[in-house]
């Protein structure tokens, strides 16, 4: 068990506990075990107190416990005013060390998880659905293949016994890192250590995470559902993660191509700003769920396997083929031509300073510290700044050529009328673009190229499925 303590004089106390386990450890046929175990801890009550009693105790404090489940990490965090810290901690400790495992809580939380998949993701968030299907496709046959919440089928099959077993095997002291920051009482970190030492002090049994197989050719997954637009995500596995010598170079490349939710990237400029195709277009080197709800990345989603991906926000159905071609065109331009000196200098300056803004709160500070320990790198801002300062334009463009590509991609599109789109893509039909206003010659000439750009795709690699089938069965 590791403790990261950052005491200061703040009136707020922040606590963040991260176990190095997660959905990747779900037993065969029991997808969602990690998710449900964590949810039972965070929203199911302790042996001493029911969930309702906990809500009543936390309510006047203005406190809630956040819970995040990913492939290899499960995090619980809370921020509390020091007026309430010890009464809060007494309850919080019980939630994590002595869970209640009540049947009615289990039923409520299973319903929540199923509705999260069936209603929230499949029904109401086409963009996130496209991203998660992309992960499922790329990691097919790999321990990452499941959604973190499992499938509707596996969730319905789980029982409390499965969760108790997951808890006793995986929530060990050895796999726990505790972060505590702010104005906590003197000596509290020692109390924390002694309390959480009651967990079994052994290494949890783990399923190994092998490298993911690379894609041999383009693959297309079309998810059909009624929708006003077509959401697109595409990508491929990448071996570069934090700590890899090429990580800073690719971080810079991804930022120049499409920094998350910023208007500076090439994709944003060329697709939205100049052509009005959609609301935004971005590029990623690391898993970034919920991008429509947040401007900054979450922490404690550290993974051994990552993908490089583009997120193309919903486009009009009639322009979907063109938008896909344009995104691939931009990716290809990046790979073939690299970045310009100006882009390189500007993006390097941006990332060297922007990294300071990511650690705004104590929760962020603790989260990044835990992730840096996972990857074996210096504190994140120092790591990024040092990495940026060592880069040259040539080294970035060489890293782009080494790791990025515009072929052998998995492409996911979610929307309506996709059978016809599938035929258009397979037949490589032209997708002429029209505008509501005059465009410069440079754009029109580029469009002429883009509208005929071939996307090599074998018929057998272009799948069309109804949204109702996604996350229905255990993969």
């Amino acid at each position: 068990m590791n403790v990261i303590a950052r005491p200061d004089s703040s009136p707020l106390v922040t606590i963040r506990l991260v176990w190095r386990t997660g959905a990747v450890q779900d037993p065969p046929g029991k997808g969602g075990a990690a998710w449900m175990t964590a949810m039972m801890l965070a929203s199911g009550g302790s042996r001493e107190l029911s969930f309702k009693q906990i809500l009543d105790l936390f309510f006047p404090m203005g406190v809630s416990v956040a819970c995040q489940i990913d492939k290899e990490m499960i995090a619980f965090s809370a921020e509390v005013h020091r007026d309430h810290f010890m009464p809060f901690y007494d309850v919080f400790r019980g939630m994590l060390l002595d869970p209640g495992w009540r049947e009615d809580d289990f039923e409520r939380l299973i319903d929540d998880a199923v509705n999260f998949l069936e209603v929230g993701l499949r029904g109401q968030n086409d963009e996130e659905l496209a991203k998660e299907v992309l992960y499922q496709e790329i990691f097919s046959g790999h321990p990452y293949r499941r959604h973190n919440a499992g499938s509707v089928e596996s969730l319905r099959r789980l029982c409390i016994g499965d969760l108790r077993q997951f808890y006793s095997e995986q929530f060990t002291g050895e796999s726990l890192t505790v972060g505590i920051a702010g104005g906590f009482p003197p000596g509290f970190d020692k109390l924390l250590l002694s309390d959480f030492r009651t967990l079994p002090q052994r290494v949890a049994p783990t399923q190994a995470v092998p490298p993911v197989r690379d894609l041999a050719e383009n693959e297309l997954i079309l998810v059909e559902k009624p929708a006003r637009g077509v959401a697109i995500s595409l990508g491929f596995p990448i071996s570069v993660r934090r700590g890899h010598p090429d990580f800073p170079a690719l971080m810079l490349a991804a930022s120049a191509l499409g920094q998350h939710r910023m208007s500076s990237g090439r994709l944003f400029t060329r697709m939205r700003q100049l052509r009005g195709l959609n609301y935004g277009d971005y590029a990623y080197l690391e898993y970034f769920p919920g991008g429509m709800f947040t401007l900054e990345p979450a922490q404690n989603m550290a993974r051994q396997c990552e993908i490089f991906q583009l997120w193309i926000r919903p486009v009009e159905r009639e322009q979907a083929h063109f938008a896909l071609r344009l995104a691939l065109h931009e990716l290809e331009r990046l790979v073939l031509d690299g970045l310009s000196t100006e882009e390189f200098e500007r993006t390097r300056s941006f990332l060297s300073k922007y990294v300071n803004l990511l650690l705004r709160t104590k929760v962020d500070e603790l989260g990044y510290a835990i992730d840096s320990a996972y990857y074996g790198i210096p504190p994140y801002p120092e790591y990024v700044r040092a990495g940026m300062s060592a880069l040259t334009l040539e080294s970035v463009n060489a890293a782009i050529r080494r790791h990025l590509r515009s072929d052998r991609l998995a492409i996911v599109m979610v929307g309506e009328g996709l059978a016809e789109l599938r035929e258009d893509i397979l037949a490589n039909r032209p997708s002429p673009m029209t505008y509501n206003s005059p465009k410069p010659d440079e754009i029109l000439e580029e469009d002429m190229l883009v509208q005929r750009r071939e996307i090599p795709m074998r018929v057998a690699c272009a799948k069309l499925l109804p949204a109702s089938e996604v996350f229905a069965l255990e993969p």
Partner: protein
């Protein structure tokens, strides 16, 4: 971490004219146009400025405000401040950029359209309001968005009317010297001239009877239920607004008896909240429930109405009222955990009263609320004639 600063421009009134049956829903669209540059700083150079300073920058528009927010390290503060002063005074954009940006707004509508709550809000406002601009969401109706490319001339009028010092508040939070910041603001913003336009939003007539609407939904969903009542404008002096804020927690928060019954015990509802969102003019007190079975919707509606009526019929327990006050106080304090959050909170309040002091007044007002105040407000506002109910359910069921 380097000290972060943030400049926020709160722009207090969203404004819309009526013309040829279309609403000129321009405030939100205009927020997009503000990133299109000036003669001095064309859009590419504006972007370069943000990039070189490592700024995190974005904007949003709500019913009563547009907020532009930027977080930067303190050594770059004045450079960004000057860029912002320039675009607030000298914005220029060609027709072509305006028409292209209208498509990005349509893209925004499209990406939001899969979420039923967005449609519920759109239909609720359309049903509950007749005259006031609160009739539409900040995004607007689809037909109005599709008409946006034709509004170039009006967009210039809009800029001339509203992007003026009398409608703007600048908030700076972080490790800065206030005297120095004032001098910098004076240097870059000091010559900005006041305008002459006085915004008059049409007053909403009193609602004369219950209203209903139903939305058939094409994709898989659980049924939603929204129960709204005409509410009151934000006030840090009169108690009604503060009392309705407290009722939203007393009745429908995670520790409310109704939440315990519907979500935890009966498990017929998986989402329950209420909101008395702060607005410059009278808005709505809204309760939302997501119900697990269509057949339970009438019973859940009945339970919500009984809960609201209960506040009018008997005084709430004083201890519960104190718990809500404590919750609001501590939740507010916990939310002020970094410069951006502080600036964002202040932007909300200064757009309502143009002074951060309103926060203190409001929280003092919460402290004075009694069980009798709760009864009185419930009797005043939770009437059938001021009620609008909107439901949404899967069409194929």
């Amino acid at each position: 971490m380097a000290a972060a600063e943030r400049d926020v421009f709160a722009y207090p009134y969203d404004q819309h004219d009526f013309d040829n049956g279309l609403r000129l829903i321009i405030a939100h669209f205009f927020e997009h146009m503000m990133f299109h540059g000036t003669p001095e700083v064309p859009p590419e150079r504006y972007e370069d400025g943000l990039q070189e300073t490592g700024a995190s920058s974005n904007a949003y528009t709500d019913d009563d405000r547009t907020v532009y927010h930027t977080t930067i390290t303190k050594e770059d503060f004045e450079r960004i401040l000057a860029m912002e002063a320039d675009r607030f005074r000298n914005l220029e954009y060609p027709l072509e950029a305006f028409q292209t940006e209208a498509l990005a707004v349509l893209g925004e509508y499209n990406k939001d359209s899969a979420e039923p709550v967005n449609k519920l809000m759109e239909v609720l406002r359309d049903t509950a309001f007749d005259r006031h601009t609160y009739k539409h969401t900040t995004m607007g109706f689809l037909r109005d968005i599709e008409a946006m490319p034709r509004m170039y001339d009006y967009s210039r009028t809009f800029f001339d009317r509203f992007y003026r010092p009398e409608y703007t508040t600048l908030v700076v939070v972080g490790d800065v010297d206030p005297g120095q910041v004032r001098a910098q603001v004076e240097r870059h913003w000091g010559g900005w001239q006041r305008g002459s336009y006085v915004c008059r939003v049409p007053a909403e007539p009193q609602q004369e009877g219950a209203r209903h609407a139903h939305i058939p939904w094409e994709t898989h969903t659980l049924p939603y239920l929204m129960v709204a009542h005409r509410s009151t404008a934000y006030s840090d002096a009169a108690t009604d607004c503060a009392v309705l804020d407290l009722i939203s927690y007393l009745g429908f928060s995670e520790n409310s008896p109704l939440y315990e019954r519907l979500v935890i015990e009966e498990q017929t509802v998986d989402l329950l909240w209420a909101s008395n969102a702060d607005h410059v003019d009278p808005y709505l007190f809204t309760v939302l429930a997501r119900v697990k079975e269509d057949s339970d919707v009438p019973a859940v509606q009945q339970a919500i109405l009984e809960t609201l009526a209960g506040f009018a019929g008997q005084p709430v327990e004083a201890g519960r009222l104190e718990d809500v006050k404590s919750h609001l106080r501590y939740r507010f304090a916990l939310g002020l955990n970094h410069s951006e959050a502080i600036a964002s909170t202040l932007a909300h309040y200064v757009s309502l009263r143009r002074t951060p002091e309103t926060v203190n007044r409001l929280y003092r007002l919460y402290e004075t609320v009694t069980p009798e105040d709760v009864m009185r407000a419930a009797r005043t506002f939770f009437t059938e004639s001021g009620r609008t109910i909107v439901t949404l359910a899967e069409a194929s069921k």
